[in-house]
């Protein structure tokens, strides 16, 4: 090698690394697609899950809620628990397109995952619960999803819990002076749900600066996710919890059914809300198939294909649902990115229930 060639090679070696790619996202922010870059911080979840003033999260409250969550006595029949439809091994959902209750009745919607609910501001597919506490106790009431199924006689699971002395002691320690009531039971369940958190996925590690946490394909998938000219997914699945806490009609085929589920329309009877459902968060999404409120997409690939064609039924369709210009490679990258949102959780430890 001549001295001149050596100088060129040395200059090349000394030159800075290739600049990271930029993308302007749906919300007009320029993101630098480089592990740990400051522009990505809006995607980091807070370290502490927010909890209301009258139900600050404590280990005692979460432990009590964990028992109640898995206790069949909380159901009037003694045959179902919160975990009947929200299993930790199944992404806190149940793997069914629509949940099946203990008497074999098929419910009207898919079981939504509980992951990272504590970061949200409105709850249930149709947003009928303004707080996590309301959502948590809703299913345990005499007419809730844990009770009153089909021919089963509605009974009061709350009363079952009130009869167990050990629970009385646990409530006295966790919620002094509040007793064992629907309100305090809802508070305890909500406290446990606030511990169902995913924020150490490869994506999160990449946000924190671990360069090889995401593959180049997954980084490309993130780009597709946030790029308004590509997936535009972050228009609704927005930072940091992959949800806008909003409601959208996605044009699912079931929307054309004669007895179609009207979704949010029951709470807000305006045309735009007919067939609209809550935007779910997406961390651990690979664990909670099938997808959509009607469980109609078996895989993430099917979800992406649905969005790519801009939905099937156009009546009351969200204005954000438009056909996407995505190559096969981009679709694969998008799915790879979504698979990079799963935290490697330790094996879940079930609680020992009071006698």
């Amino acid at each position: 090698m001549s001295p001149r060639q050596v100088a060129i090679v040395a200059a090349l070696c000394a030159s800075p690394a290739v600049a990271a790619e930029n993308v302007v996202d749906t919300h007009g922010d320029t993101l630098v697609l480089e592990a740990g870059h400051a522009s990505l911080r809006k995607w980091l979840l807070p370290d502490v899950v927010p909890s209301p003033e009258d139900n600050k999260l404590t280990p005692q409250r979460a432990a009590l809620g964990k028992m109640l969550f898995f206790d069949p006595r909380l159901s009037g029949t003694g045959q179902s628990t919160c975990a009947s439809c929200h299993l930790p091994e199944r992404g806190w959902s149940d793997s069914f397109p629509k949940s099946i209750r203990f008497m074999g009745d098929v419910m009207t919607r898919a079981s939504p995952s509980l992951v990272n609910l504590g970061y949200n501001s409105i709850f249930q597919w149709d947003g009928r619960s303004p707080t996590l506490e309301h959502q948590a106790v809703n299913g345990a009431g005499p007419s809730g999803s844990m009770n009153a199924a089909g021919k089963a006689k509605p009974t009061d699971g709350i009363a079952n819990i009130q009869k167990i002395p050990a629970y009385g002691e646990l409530f006295a320690r966790a919620y002094p002076g509040e007793g064992v009531t629907p309100t305090s039971i809802g508070k305890a369940l909500a406290s446990f749900e606030r511990t169902v958190v995913s924020r150490d996925s490869p994506f999160d590690q990449w946000l924190h600066g671990k360069k090889d946490a995401l593959t180049p394909q997954q980084v490309q998938g993130f780009r597709v996710f946030v790029d308004p000219a590509k997936g535009n997914c972050s228009a609704c699945h927005s930072a940091p919890n992959f949800t806008d806490n909003g409601f959208h009609n996605l044009g699912l085929k079931s929307g054309a059914d004669k007895d179609a589920d009207v979704g949010r329309f029951r709470q807000r009877p305006v045309a735009l809300m007919k067939g609209a459902f809550k935007t779910p968060q997406l961390r651990d999404v690979a664990q909670s198939a099938p997808y959509f409120h009607d469980g109609s997409a078996a895989t993430l690939e099917e979800v992406v294909d649905h969005y790519a064609k801009g939905g099937d039924v156009k009546t009351n369709l969200s204005p954000l649902m438009n056909p996407l210009s995505l190559s096969s490679e981009e679709k694969q990258a998008l799915v790879a990115f979504l698979r990079g949102l799963s935290t490697a959780h330790p094996i879940f430890e079930y609680p020992v229930l009071p006698k």
Binding site: D244, F247, H248, V270, L272, P319
Partner: protein, 103 residues
């Protein structure tokens, strides 16, 4: 012009002069005002300055309205005729809330 006609014209002119116009901007998934005081008959203009579509509805039975969808840069207006509080939100993003007090 007869006296009674002049009176009608004057009254109409006064009404037009009294009807004020208010602007509320939707930005960063929030309304620019949490509360707004208006007089019955005032025009309230909502402008979407967000990149995502919004919608503005009343959730108060006394003054119901639904302005439908509007995208970035678009504006829609409403006039409220009945006095009283009117709770307003974006039906797409119900975390966006404000109250209009109609006097």
């Amino acid at each position: 012009m007869k006296a009674w006609m002049a009176g009608i014209v004057a009254a109409a002119a006064a009404a037009i002069a009294l009807a004020a116009e208010h602007t509320v901007v939707q930005k960063d998934l929030a309304f620019s005002q949490k509360t707004l005081k208006v007089k019955a008959g005032d025009l309230i203009r909502f402008t979407n300055d967000d990149p995502v579509p919004h919608n503005v509805i009343s959730v108060s039975a006394s003054n119901p309205f639904d302005l439908g969808v509007f995208r970035k840069g678009e504006s829609k207006s409403v006039t409220l005729s009945k006095p009283g509080p009117v709770d307003v939100e974006c039906s797409i993003h119900p975390g966006m809330k404000m109250r209009i007090d109609v006097e």
